[in-house]
Symmetry: C2
Subunit: 433 residues, 2 copies
């Protein structure tokens, strides 16, 4: 068997909340003015109560609403495959599997949270969602989700991606969203940022500031975030739950090492948190490895501190590994990973020793991506290439040591819209940031 | 249930050859010099014997070689879904299903034949394949297949697509192929065509001429065609065989009307020929509707005659519905459908009354594609939009008449790399060719 196929009755019925299982509770978010722990009402201006309650929840299992589960059926359960041809290409003694989220409508895992967020906002009577997007994966996921629930969608897209990745903008517009390059002239924050940094190619932190400003100023609008926050990570745990079932179908005792790319953290968390639970319950000893880009190495080089989630300091203070809210990463191709911080729950897990982290330069990432594409057919997203590169390091190490670990890669998306980055890599002109 | 899931043990073991079941035999291809029926040796300069024998075969079932079936596992079986949300969006009384080939590595059905062709050529000791591509779907499929079997791959891409669709070229290059815009300065045919038509945006007929010239002149190289010929259609019949099994899982008695887009004919044939067999055996009465672009209406406006497959008259004479080998269609976005003729087996089936045909303009096609994308999430390929548009006509007719037919759409590919065409449609600037 090379593919573990599940049918729609096996889509998880609940999201898994790791907060219930952490040996120590994660530090709470703080109000930026008082520096006191946030209370739910502090977030009510920009989030619906359904999501605020999830943000603060300590329940282990949270039921997935039926309309969200119905939408999940358009792309879930996602496949988990043994990378037989990749193993052959490497001549490795390792057994390599990958969980593939790239067959979703917009080509990435982001839809898992987008449809949930759009649902709770629609239930709360909200008419419009404002959001940021880096590479455009989150923006296109939310654009799809918004039209599915009858909401308007305003996307602030990091200027570098807006200019360099027109296809993702077109995809958002096909789903009816309005897309603006960030920093823009439309918001106060945007104008101030453009004055301070006239030549900036933008950043996720800046785009978040603009979207938050718009949402806070309109009672019919809310803000929606594609990663970092607890409720976003929660929604992604369908990935890991399915993967646990699927790995069992291959008669593997356990996954020995799991690799996921980590920008804001939602993809890594979604795949790995259910595996961390297995570890905490003593049922496995899976190493979890976060693969971040060397250009935005929040876990490996950042400080574990209370910091803002955005450049303009509009968000609550989050305890996280951060490079500083004003850090603007080099314009590497993995736009979805260009974030200054790391999700508080991933940061806490890292601080508690529940996961490891490595940083990977983009040429190594794309070399891995090209190898993967030629072996498995799928051209991975720029972000996913970091996880693949991490896995290749381990496969090569294991082969030299004569070991046969079970490796699981989270392939978070497909790279059909990242092809200019592949062309740049193949031409030899890619900067090794 | 909304998705009929099969596992890899249910990938068909044989290809289905409709020639064995036609009530009358299809007219044979003729040698262009003698106008006598071709003999296998006539094709030996550009095809391996394994494919030549399939081209002339009258056996009903042809076993799929194990290495090809192993590669199929990377994307087969493909999903068949009930389009619940599309039905809701239309408010239709029809029940609509779609068979989705767009989750294959390169995003279309073309890989089904590409890996088979690369396999037989590699078995025959060939080192290099030359081919044409319109939108780039066939070229990227063959590029992937060639590297899987260790062959070099030379693609002549229709100039209009080469210039307008750089992403598909980058995809081919990621798989290691060499891509040249056609007509080119590299071949005699290309130079002659550029002299006669200096401003031409190219055509599939021209690109075929160039690839055939190159393959015929190099003993280590063969030619590979992405549609039209019997063996190509044969390889695609895995689609329809799976679809028959999957429709049965929904407890539908039969498909009442099947819609497939038709350019060269391989996608339509692959989905519909197993259904035509059911009709011929008296087990169903499924209407088969070929949806061609109004810009290249070979079935609906062409002549059923012996014609060349290419512009330079290098190919055998094929009995087919044709607009003439020198016909150059308007540069519509469905590059994969811009062919002057129609596969001889599809032409024969049409002539014998076993299938119907309609022609659809591109604005109607893209309107259908946008509706489909917003309902089902998937952005369909430009080509597939023609099949969806045909199905929407039938769904609307049925709703007005108060009928509930079972409709099956062949969604041959995804349109992530066709997004500029969607942007043009949404801007209102698309010509209604």
């Amino acid at each position: 068997m090379t593919t573990a196929v599940l049918d729609e009755s096996q889509i998880p019925t609940h999201w898994y909340n790791i907060v219930a299982d952490f040996p120590t509770p994660p530090p709470p978010p703080l109000h930026p003015g008082t520096r006191e722990p946030l209370v739910p009402d502090d977030l009510a201006a920009i989030f619906p109560m359904g999501l605020i309650l999830q943000e603060a929840s300590t329940e282990r299992w949270i039921e997935i609403p039926a309309p969200v589960r119905e939408l999940y059926r358009l792309w879930r359960p996602s496949p988990l495959r043994r990378a037989v041809r990749l193993e052959e290409a490497l001549g490795t003694t390792a057994r390599i599997y990958y969980k593939y989220e790239g067959a979703s409508p917009v080509g990435s895992h982001k839809t898992n949270s987008a449809v949930a967020q759009a649902y709770y906002n629609a239930q709360a009577g909200i008419k419009r969602l404002a959001t940021e997007t880096g590479a455009g994966q989150w923006g296109s996921a939310l654009a799809f989700a918004c039209q599915a629930f009858g909401l308007a969608c305003d996307v602030w897209q990091v200027r570098g991606s807006y200019d360099g990745k027109p296809y993702r903008r077109m995809l958002m517009e096909t789903y009816g969203a309005r897309v603006t390059a960030s920093p823009s002239e439309v918001t106060e924050t945007g104008r101030a940022l453009r004055e301070r940094f006239p030549d900036t190619s933008g950043s996720l932190g800046m785009a978040i500031s603009e979207a938050v400003e718009v949402a806070a100023g309109d009672p019919d609008a809310n803000y929606s975030l594609g990663s970092v926050l607890n409720h976003v990570l929660l929604h992604q745990t369908v990935i890991g739950q399915e993967a646990l079932t699927q790995i069992g179908m291959f008669d593997e005792e356990q996954v020995d090492v799991l690799f996921g790319c980590a920008g804001g953290g939602s993809n890594l968390a979604g795949l790995s948190f259910p595996f961390i639970r297995e570890n905490l319950e003593g049922r496995s000893a899976t190493r979890i490895v976060a693969c971040e880009p060397k250009a935005a190495p929040s876990l490996t080089e950042g400080e574990y501190t209370y910091d803002f989630g955005d450049t303009a300091h509009l968000t609550p203070l989050l305890k996280m590994y951060s490079l500083g809210a004003e850090f603007v990463p080099d314009p590497v191709h993995a736009g979805g990973l260009r974030y200054h911080g790391m999700a508080p729950l991933v940061s806490h897990a890292y601080h508690e020793g529940l996961l490891e982290a490595i940083a990977i330069k983009q040429r190594e990432a794309f070399a891995a991506g090209v190898l993967f594409a030629n072996a498995e057919g799928i051209v991975p997203a720029s972000e996913s290439n970091h996880a693949i590169a991490g896995a290749l390091r381990e496969a090569r190490r294991a082969t030299e040591a004569g070991e046969s670990p079970v490796i699981l890669i989270g392939v978070s998306g497909n790279g059909q819209l990242d092809l200019p980055a592949y062309a740049e890599y193949l031409s030899g002109d890619m900067l090794d940031s």
